[in-house]
């Protein structure tokens, strides 16, 4: 009998080789030097700063500032996410394949539908291709310092993100009910409500709440460019190396994120409960209460922020906006500048790729205890650690890491790795908990060691999800890596920040264009990679 060989082996070997060939130069570009962390001088600065954390500042005046800033941060996040939701729902409905009428048959207007969908996808890419902080930095110069720029920036960026993810969630579920309705002549909205929402509402809601939580973190950072909220305070404390104030603010972040977590869990549980209700009313008393609370929170946010949106749409404001954005054209395309932008882009990619890779590895290691496989105590402990890691925004991590490892791209890598391992660890733990337990249990019942049972029984089931999460985070981290330069952690952000400060708008717009291009490339690349991984033999 001929000895059979594994037909997948050459492909795997090639992939491994390719990974090394790609990662090595990225490490060089990203100045990946872990040993700098342990240099005496860096240890001393960081140690001194950390030692000042205890006790956290609790002065009356400082606490009043902190409370006001916290409320403003929450209001910016809430108002921003509401704007994003309003933008995202129609965009998601128009772009998702699950609600395409013209694909049935294929029917009339198929070509037009595809064009429209493609055009809207481009709009989405532009909206979320630029980090909210860049939008904020741009808007602050038109609308002045204050929360309006932050709300608009959040609304645009998160609108694009929500629309994309909504469309994906709608496509990932069972599309047959909606399709049957569309085939029976229902409208898109009807098919959405009757065919897709019953299956997807829970995931959509929990993702929206999760995004709100991200918006809180993003609006924290808005203060760094003058768009209000906690960021302003943090910026001051960090500049003065005031450890006790920084500790208080970091604790506030943690509380904010934990509160958002609790709210998300509460909402999800309640969604699950209403499923079993037999009453005629679609919304139970509790859901109505939630909607009422949500409405009043929105109203309070807009009132608190005093946005004056009408003034933004006056003729004079529109004219000054047009003049301002007109100054960005034409782009500076001289070879010298293009070369520096290209290097900045490479650095950004290196920072994001290495940061995400480190985070995925650390996240998986942390997800094992966080999914409860080593007992309740470890689960709670790692969950707290994960929450602490992700409750601190990347930009804040970057300022801390610049103390620990010096200015430069390596600080950016560490910042992304720390924050993202918190995010991925939580998502991974959820995926591990939701994985079908039978394959693993069957292996354990056959005397398999638990590590092997995990690798053979659980990992094959969850690995596509883990990879998809990591790729999606990488996509987000590329945009984040572009901003980290605002605090001196390398990449495109550094170039943009410098050029905007010098009012050199044509050069700045080249950097913005590079950010967009990068985002598009990553979008295409990760979509291709996901398809390849889903295909047989991947």
């Amino acid at each position: 009998m001929k000895h059979p060989r594994d037909p997948a082996a050459p492909g795997r070997a090639a992939a491994l080789l390719l990974a090394i060939v790609i990662l090595w130069p990225l490490g060089v570009i990203g100045e990946f030097h872990p040993w700098t962390l342990f240099e005496a001088q860096n240890l001393r600065v960081m140690g001194g700063f950390l030692a000042a954390f205890l006790p956290p500042a609790v002065g009356g005046e400082f606490l009043a500032h902190l409370g006001r800033a916290t409320l403003e941060t929450l209001a910016i996040a809430t108002a921003g996410i509401a704007l994003a939701f309003v933008l995202a729902v129609p965009l998601a409905m128009a772009t998702t394949q699950a609600l395409s009428v013209s694909r049935i048959g294929p029917g009339p207007g198929r070509r037009r539908g595809e064009w429209l969908r493609a055009a809207l996808r481009v709009v989405l890419v532009v909206l979320r291709g630029l980090p909210e902080l860049v939008w904020a930095l741009l808007f602050v110069r038109v609308f002045g310092l204050g929360p309006a720029a932050g709300v608009l920036a959040l609304g645009l960026t998160y609108g694009g993100m929500l629309a994309k993810v909504y469309a994906e969630i709608l496509e990932s579920g069972d599309s047959r009910p909606a399709r049957a309705l569309l085939e029976a002549g229902a409208s898109r909205l009807q098919a959405l409500c009757y065919g897709l929402l019953p299956g997807a509402a829970q995931e959509l809601t929990s993702y929206t709440v999760y995004r709100w939580e991200c918006a809180v973190r993003a609006s924290v950072v808005m203060g760094f460019v003058g768009a209000g909220g906690l960021g302003q305070l943090m910026d001051q404390s960090m500049r003065m190396l005031n450890g006790s104030e920084a500790a208080s603010i970091l604790l506030t972040f943690l509380v904010l994120v934990l509160a958002a977590d609790a709210l998300s869990g509460l909402l999800r549980r309640q969604l699950g409960e209403t499923d079993g209700r037999a009453g005629a009313l679609a919304f139970g008393r509790r859901s109505s209460l939630w909607l009422l609370l949500l409405g009043s929170a929105l109203l309070a946010s807009y009132l608190w922020l005093d946005l004056g949106l009408a003034a933004l749409l006056s003729a004079a404001a529109l004219a000054s906006m047009a003049a301002y954005f007109g100054a960005f054209f034409p782009l500076d395309l001289s070879p010298d500048w293009l070369a520096s932008v290209a290097w900045g882009a490479l650095e950004t990619v290196a920072i994001s790729a290495l940061g995400t890779l480190l985070a995925a590895a650390a996240g998986l290691l942390l997800a094992l205890p966080a999914s409860g496989r080593y007992g309740q105590a470890f689960e709670q402990l790692t969950r707290f650690l994960l929450n602490a890691l992700r409750s601190v925004p990347e930009l804040v991590w970057a300022t801390l890491m610049a103390l620990a490892a010096g200015l430069g791209p390596f600080a950016g890598i560490l910042a992304l790795a720390l924050h993202t391992s918190g995010v991925l660890g939580r998502l991974f733990a959820e995926a591990l908990q939701n994985a079908p337990p039978r394959p693993r249990d069957a292996l354990l019942e056959a005397g398999t060691p638990s590590a092997s049972a995990f690798l053979y029984g659980t990992l094959p089931e969850v690995s596509p999800q883990l990879i998809a999460y990591s790729l999606y985070r990488w996509e987000m981290n590329i945009r984040m890596a572009a901003i980290l330069g605002f605090v001196g952690a390398g990449g495109l952000g550094q170039l943009l920040y410098v050029k905007l400060s010098l009012f050199q708008y044509p050069q700045a717009s080249t950097v913005i264009a590079a950010m967009l291009l990068l985002s598009v490339a990553v979008d295409a690349g990760s979509a291709w990679l996901r398809r390849w991984l889903a295909s047989p033999g991947g």
Partner: protein, 276 residues
Amino acid sequence: MFRLHDAELTHSNGFVALRDIALAAEAGEQLAIVGPSGAGKTTLLRLISTALRPTRGRIDLLGGDPWALSAAELRRLRARIAVAHQAPPLPPRQRVVTAVLAGRLGQWPWWKGMASLLYPADITGARAALLRLELGERLFDRCDRLSGGQLQRVGIARVLYQQAQLVLADEPVSALDPALALQTVQVMCGDAAARGATLVASLHAVDLARSCFPRIVGMRDGRIVFDLPVAAVDDALLSELYATEGGGLPLLAGEPAGMSLPARAAGLPPRGTCWR
């Protein structure tokens, strides 16, 4: 091989799934468990495989009380027991070769299990197990490319590959057509006999049980109703066992009771040939 002493199992919701179970099997013995749905066949197999712990009574397994062992000893004990599941618990994205090789993870050192994920450690062995079930050509396919019946046979191939001393099978051929079901059970019986392993199978089709197993255990409402050599199990006894199910006895191909073998016309061996 194993011995249950008045074992009783009560689920956490208070439902008594098994009561007064006294059952024993010697090394090399082969027995089939039959009975209507909900009789407790699966629970009994899970009790023997140490997936469930009896709430009352005792179990002796491979020379001792498994629940008195340390975790490491229990793991080693479990590696000597193989279970073929009705719905094989195989990850859909796993390749057949990996799924089959996973049968020996309990016997391999941990590093071999890791290495085998990069390059299958024993392609020949996995292929040999699959070839016995006529699945040799699906070696490198992914499990989600297989039909339900093929998947069930991959699960059995894993059991064959594990080479356990005690083989438990829970409706192992429920998704196969009659001819293939008979052939597959014959492979399992033959393998166990050749290695001197003990085989306990719950079967829905009573004619399959009677044609392949020398000893039949009838279960109903969580109790063992009879435990007899196959010659003593007649249609009357079985009809009584299945009394509430309505209609005739559950058979492999749906012929009326008493027509003994399903696929006699197809030239398959008559009753009683797959055990010695």
